[in-house]
């Protein structure tokens, strides 16, 4: 299914099109990597809802990105249970080895580093989400191994996937 068809299928689950804005934005973000203005306008056209409603949600919810993010979005939890298991050390390590500060993206567009609130997986603290996957019980050695695996996976990423990620040199 293309994006429009997916959004229309999602909208059929609700008696009101406005309810479908959130699912539509998740679909659009999956397709485009992030949600620039023209994509938001396309979503509002497909659903036939006010543009401002779409903009409102795209900026309210933290999982929506109106700015580009790296191919791999490293989302390290630093809430209490992870903090008690030294997530700070992991953040410092990631900042050092990636050469960026939290919130930043590496110049090659591979990694964006963020801290997030509790991921609901505190039994495996400290935890980091990368894309769809949770990585738990992390320490510095595991972080390094994970970065190596991600770099190797990036070697196999398609040009289109890389282009959808953050533009190089930002």
């Amino acid at each position: 299914m293309n994006m429009r068809e997916q959004i229309e299928a999602a909208a059929a689950r609700y008696p009101d099109q406005r309810s479908a804005i959130m699912p539509a934005l998740l679909i659009a973000q999956k397709e485009h990597g992030h949600l620039p203005g023209p994509v938001l306008e396309e979503v509002s056209d497909i659903l036939g809802v006010e543009r401002v409603w779409v903009y409102e949600l795209a900026t309210f919810y933290t999982l929506f990105h109106t700015e580009p993010v790296g191919l791999f979005h490293l989302q390290l939890c630093d809430n209490l249970s992870c903090m008690l298991r030294r997530s700070e050390d992991l953040l410092r390590h990631l900042e050092t080895v990636l050469g960026i500060e939290k919130g930043g993206t590496t110049p090659d567009g591979l990694f964006t580093l963020s801290t997030v609130e509790c991921l609901g997986a505190c039994e495996m603290a400290p935890v980091m989400q990368v894309g769809d996957d949770y990585h738990g019980d992390l320490d510095i050695a595991r972080i390094d191994a994970l970065l190596d695996r991600l770099r190797a996976a990036a070697g196999q990423a398609t040009g289109a996937e890389l282009a959808a990620a953050a533009p190089p040199g930002e």
Partner: protein, 421 residues
Amino acid sequence: MFEPVLLKNMDVPDGHLLSSYEAGGGYQALAKALHEHTPDEIIDLVKESNLRGRGGAGFPTGLKWSFVPKRAGKPKYLCCNADEGEPGTFKDRIIMERDPHQLIEGMAIGAYAIGAETAYVYIRGEYVLAIQRLEQAIAEAHEKGYLGTRILGSDFNFVVHIHCGAGAYICGEETAMLDSLEGKRAQPRLKPPFPAVEGLYASPTVINNVETLACVPHIVMRGPVWFRGIGPDKSPGPKLYCLSGQVRKPGLYELPMGIPLRELVEDHAGGPPPGRKIKAVIPGGVSAPLIPEHGLDVGMDFDSLAAAGSMLGSAGVIVVDDSTCMVKVATRIIEFFHHESCGKCTPCREGLNWVVKVLRRVEAGQGAPDDLEQLEALCKGIFGNTFCALGDGAAMGLRAALAHFEDEFGAHIEERRCPFH
């Protein structure tokens, strides 16, 4: 030994598949409910069981269901609260990942009881595996006729849809969740009208937590007397406890409601790491005021914890040992609430902003002599004056930290540094 109820399928291979669930007696409760009970009888069974909501507030589930008008002239809705944003909590995720049919069966019985034909599961978007498993389980249940039209030969029709959240803690508050489902920014609504009368799309709506709904098939199968016999009569049942933080064996434990907190932390979860002592435990997610070590003999149920000045909340039990600075803990908790404040009301939005500023400077050794009074004044301005419970939770949490660890806060200010660094 307590025999697990909610987690009984955890170690079954492929326990998330319908075939495994059926092999363990799954969907027999739904058949029993549809063939042997009227909707009102189901509500009565749940009332008699004394099941109380596992989402945090502990509201009696049967009573909540009974508030739904019988003849509404509008569709009714069931919403399952799977937003699980309370730091320290991960029980709903594990149910959905490993035993999603248990939830679907509970939803079907609940919907039958209240007369709803549609349910939405509001699940946090980060829970990718849980979302996949639940989608698969819904498809399987449709295929086998546990969902859809004329379920198991009855007149009952019911469908379940998944609605993914997008990273806002406030969506867990039930009325904010309804606004979010309607495609608006998630902000709590004024009550009354209560959702049971005017909820989703202004229709009668019941909102229940994942674990609450997962209890329902067991109550139907084994009866309310069995359920009430587990733990304290007024707050009974099997209970999931999420253990995390500075404890040897973090994880999800199922034990009776009312188990002493000390037993839970020291015996089941193995106590603090070697060479450490417990300093304090948060019993119910960061919204629940912390309990210092000497208070750990309290029972883990709604009433006992309330009497001890805390709350069961989501049963997210976070253990803090003696190597940790309580000012840092308090600061991190309030930073969370400040970040997640939806901004609708001033005491929470502005008050927490100030609290964070003061706490950060105290933690950094730059606190002013009257900062603890400032913090108390700020708590006073927030507590009881906010639109929803988020602001109150933040103020109560900070007050407990200040009351029990005043000396640590004081030392930061007097010594002009953190004694733990």
